[in-house]
Amino acid sequence: MFTLSDTPIDADALKRLVNTQEAGAYVAFEGWVRNHNEGQAVTGLEYEAYEALAVKEGNKIIDEAQKFSILKAHCVHRTGALKIGDMAVMVVVTSAHRKEAFAACEFIIDEIKKRLPIWKRETYVDGSTSWVNCAHNHEAVHETAQASGAKS
């Protein structure tokens, strides 16, 4: 299951969601707010999500991860204001054997970052802000449209 959260992510609660006696392997990914990005000192950031589509697309990704023969998978993504060191996203996966859990966990976070309508505004040490991926490189082909298989 995929969810958005405007409060801090509870890593232990998430882990319990994928716990099962058949599981031999548990793989977790956490994305943390770093103190720098592309050479600039970051002091904080904010995530904004297009909730209806993000949740729909996030759950589609979790479903797609079943191709790795995993047992359970879950992902939570933060919205709102975050500080350095805060957890922005967490993916948890269980499987009988470890290879599948690693592959599925990496697949999920890769697709989440590519396809979900979620945006990040960074605040820098000089007080300026920037929507990541929007300020520069306006000509870049948009990954979302390509990866998600748009309607027609």
Partner: protein, 91 residues
Amino acid sequence: MEALAHLAAAESKTVRVDYFALLKEQRGLASENLETRSSTVLELYEELQKRHGFSLKHSSVAVALNDEFADWSEKLTERDKVVFIPPVAGG
């Protein structure tokens, strides 16, 4: 058929547009209902881009129609919900 399509394109309809991130900043609001004669979502983006000075070209933006990813060639109909999606940066 072509003549009909042309008539449809010229027809006025009311659609809802939600804005996020940079587009919300540049539009100055999060959502609006607006009347348009644009036929496709691409025409609507270009209409709004001209009016509000959006810095993002449509080639770096994706679009959702009624909470599903859509092609730029998708036709607009009355009461559609349109969201233009700037380059994403989740995770």
